[in-house]
C-alpha cells in the first residue's frame, strides 16, 4: 500500500532500533508516555516494544476515547434509548463499553433499545432525516479528532432546523488530560512514575496543531514529539525523545510533518469554537473528574443538546473496586499488575476501561503481547 508500507519497513525499523540503542546513556532509564491509544495499538500490533532496548519503557497513556468514557455517560445513552425510546447512534467501538447493571449499548440493543452503529456524525444526521417521527440522538465521543465533524453536524441540523436531532456531547480535550497526568501526585513526586517525555497524538494535532504542547515542554520540562500512528513513526519519535533527554532539552518537535503544523486546522477549530464551549468539570473513566477537560454545546445550540432535551442528570458510577485502570492510565501500574487482568477481565468480558477498546493498554497487552508473560517453548519456523 503506497504511503503506508514505507512506514512499516522492518529493515528501517532495525536500523532505528540500533540508532536508539547507540544513543542511550548506559546508566539511565528512559520512560516515555504515548498519550494516544492509536500509538498503544501500533506498538502492540507491530511488536515495537520488542525492538526497543530494555532501557526504554513505553507508558500507555489515557488517549483512547472509548477507554476514558465514564460509565455514567453510557448509562445516559442507554436511558434515552431504553426508557425514552430514542434512536441512539454512535461509533462502533462504543457499543461494547460496560455500563451499569451489566449493560452496554450492545446489550441494551438486545433488550430492545434502538441503537445504531454509524461511521460519522453525518450518518446520524441522515438517520434523523429518515426517521422524522423519532428522536435521534448522536452519542458523540472522542478527542479533538472527532469533534469537528460533530460541530458540522450540529451546524447543519440548525441550518435545516431539524426538530428530532440532538447530541449527547462527551467530547474530551487532550491538553487538559496531559496536564492532569503531569499534576498527579505520582508524577510530581519524582520516582513513582518517571515520565521523561511524551509521544504526542497524531490525528488530534492535525486539528489543534503542535502549539498547545509548548506549554508542557516549557512549564513541566517535558519534551514532546508529535508522531504518526505507523510503527516507524513511533520509533522515530522515541529516537527524537532520547536525543532531547540526553541533551537536556525540552521542546515540542514534530515527527508528523506530513500532516501537522504549528497552527493546526483553523477552519475546524473555528467550527468547534462556534458550537462548543468548555465544561467546567467532566469525569473521565479511570482518572476521575478533570477540570476544563471536555466540551459542552453552547446555549445558541441548546435545542440540540440531548442532556437538556431529555432532562438527563449525571450520576457517576464507580468501577469495579479491584479495577486498576486509573493507575494504569496514569502509568503507575502495568496491566499485569491488576489482579483482574486476563482472569475476570478479558476482551470478551471487560470490567475496566483499559480492556474495552483494542486501543486500551490492557486490551493491547492481552490481545497482542501476553505471550511475553509466559515462557513458551518455540520451534524455529
Amino acid at each position: 500500500m503506497k504511503y503506508v508500507d514505507e512506514f512499516r519497513d522492518g529493515a528501517v525499523a532495525r536500523g532505528l532500533a540500533a540508532a536508539i540503542a547507540a544513543e542511550l546513556q548506559p546508566d539511565r532509564r528512559y520512560s516515555f508516555m504515548e498519550f494516544c491509544g492509536g500509538h498503544t495499538h501500533a506498538i502492540a500490533r507491530y511488536g515495537v516494544a520488542e525492538l526497543l532496548p530494555p532501557q526504554v519503557r513505553m507508558i500507555h497513556g489515557p488517549g483512547c476515547p472509548v477507554c476514558v468514557l465514564p460509565i455514567g455517560r453510557i448509562d445516559q445513552a442507554i436511558q434515552m434509548a431504553l426508557d425514552q425510546g430514542a434512536i441512539v447512534a454512535t461509533y462502533g467501538d462504543t457499543m461494547r463499553v460496560p455500563a451499569s447493571q451489566s449493560l452496554s449499548l450492545m446489550k441494551a440493543k438486545a433488550r430492545g433499545a434502538d441503537i445504531r452503529m454509524v461511521y460519522s456524525a453525518a450518518d446520524a444526521l441522515k438517520l434523523a432525516r429518515q426517521n422524522p417521527q423519532r428522536e435521534v440522538v448522536f452519542f458523540a465521543i472522542g478527542f479533538e479528532t472527532t469533534t469537528p465533524p460533530t460541530a458540522l453536524a450540529l451546524r447543519q441540523a440548525a441550518r435545516e432546523d431539524l426538530p428530532n436531532f440532538s447530541v449527547l456531547c462527551c467530547h474530551v480535550l487532550t491538553p487538559s488530560a496531559i496536564t492532569h497526568i503531569l499534576e498527579s501526585a505520582e508524577v510530581r513526586q519524582y520516582g513513582t512514575v518517571p515520565i521523561d517525555g511524551f509521544v504526542g497524538p497524531a490525528h488530534v494535532s492535525i486539528i489543534i496543531g503542535s502549539g498547545p504542547y509548548e506549554h508542557f515542554a516549557e512549564e513541566y520540562r517535558k519534551p514532546v514529539v508529535i508522531a504518526g500512528f505507523e510503527p516507524l513513526d513511533v520509533m522515530q519519535a522515541v529516537l527524537m525523545l532520547v536525543r532531547q533527554v540526553n541533551q537536556g532539552r525540552a521542546v515540542v518537535e514534530n515527527e508528523f510533518t506530513r500532516a501537522v503544523t504549528r497552527e493546526g486546522n483553523l477552519a475546524a477549530q473555528a467550527a468547534v469554537a462556534e458550537v462548543f464551549e468548555l465544561r467546567e468539570r467532566f469525569e473521565w473513566r479511570g482518572l476521575g473528574e478533570v477540570p476544563y477537560s471536555a466540551l459542552k454545546i453552547r446555549p445558541a445550540y441548546a435545542r440540540f443538546d440531548a442532556e437538556l432535551r431529555f432532562g438527563l442528570g449525571y450520576t457517576p458510577v464507580p468501577d469495579h473496586k479491584k479495577c486498576e485502570c486509573g493507575a494504569i492510565l496514569r502509568g503507575v501500574k502495568r496491566p499485569t499488575d491488576c489482579t483482574l487482568f486476563g482472569t475476570v477481565c478479558t476482551p470478551e468480558n471487560p470490567m475496566g476501561s483499559c480492556m474495552v477498546s483494542s486501543e486500551g493498554a490492557c486490551a493491547a497487552h492481552y490481545s497482542y503481547g501476553r505471550f511475553r508473560d509466559i515462557p513458551v517453548v518455540s520451534v524455529p519456523a
Binding site: 500500500m1 525499523a13 515495537v48 510503527p231 486501543e359 490481545s367 513458551v376 520451534v379
Partner: protein, 351 residues
Amino acid sequence: MSVKPNYIRPIDFKHGRVDMNHGAGGRAGAQLIEELFARAFDNPALRQGDDGAALDMPAGHRLVMATDGHVISPLEFPGGDIGCLSVHGTLNDVAMMGAQPLYLAASFILEEGFALAELKRIVESMAAAARDAGVPIVTGDTKVVERGKGDGVFIATTGVGALPAGRRIGGAQARAGDVVLLSGSIGEHGVAVLSQRESLEFETAIVSDTAALHGLVAQLLAAVPEGAVHTLRDPTRGGLATTLNEIARQCGAGMLLHEADIPVQPQVEAACELLGLDPLYIANEGKLVAIVAPEHAAAALAALQAHPLGRAATRIGVVQEDPHGFVQMCTRFGGRRVVDWLSGEPLPRIC
C-alpha cells in the same frame, strides 16, 4: 363449454411478493415449490416429492454430515449472494473433513413481503452453484414468517459426503512441526459484503471469493500420501485468526506465523486500513488452511498452487509446542505478537 388447460395461475415472479399463504402448507406453498425450487434444483431424488430422500452411499466409506445457517446482509453482494454462499459454505464444511460432498438439503425461512423476483435470483444462483459443484439439492423445506420477523430470507443447508473409512482429518490431528498452508489471499468476502452495507458503501473492485473447495481438496489429497494432511479448515467467520486459534485449541499446540507470507490483496488491505479492521479477522468463503506433515509440505503446496482456486497458496507458518496454545506471528515489521481470538464482532475504531 371449453375446459381451461390450467386452472392454476402461474406465479408472478416479476411483481409478486412472498405472503403468508406461501407458508400455510396449502396450494400456494406447493406451487412455489413446484414452480421455483423443484424447477431450479431439479434432480431425480427431489422429483419424487417425498418427505425425505433415499440416497446411495459408496461402499467402504463413512458418512460425513455438516449443516450451516446463512443469514447475511445484504443478500446480494459483489461476487455472489446468499444462494451460492449457502451451497459453498456447507459443501466446504464437508470437504474440510476430507470427504467428497454428495448431497445437499436446503431449508428456506422467507419473510412475508419479500420480492419473488429477488427470491428467484437467489434460488437460481443456488441451483447454479450446486450444479457447478456436481452436488444435487435433494430435499428441502420452506417456511414463511410475518413481516418484520425475518431479514428477507434465511437459508439453512445440510450436506452429506463420503469419507474413506481410514481417513482422519481434523483440528486435533495437527501436531508440533507441521506446516501451515493457506490457499490464497484473505479477507475478500468480508470486504465485499462490508462495501455494500447501507451505512458504509465504499467503492471497491473486490468481489467475494465464495467458491466450492472440494475440487481443490481432492487435488491436494491426491498429491500426498494418505495421512499426510492432518487438518483442513476454511477460515470463514472470524477469519484466519479465529480458525487458527480453534485448531490450536483442538490440538493443544501453538503456532508461529510469518505475516509477510500471508497474502492480502492491496484493495482489501486498504479497505481494512480505512475502517480500522484487521484482515486476519475478516471472513473468507473460498479459502482453506491445510496443516500438513513437514515432509509432504512442499508437495502439498505445489498441489494447491496447481489448482485454479489455490494459485496464490503459501506456507504461512508452523505448528509448535505450546501448552498455552498461543497463535503467534512474526510481524512484517520485525516484532512478534499474539494473533488472538476475535472478541465479538469486528467493530471499526473511531479514529
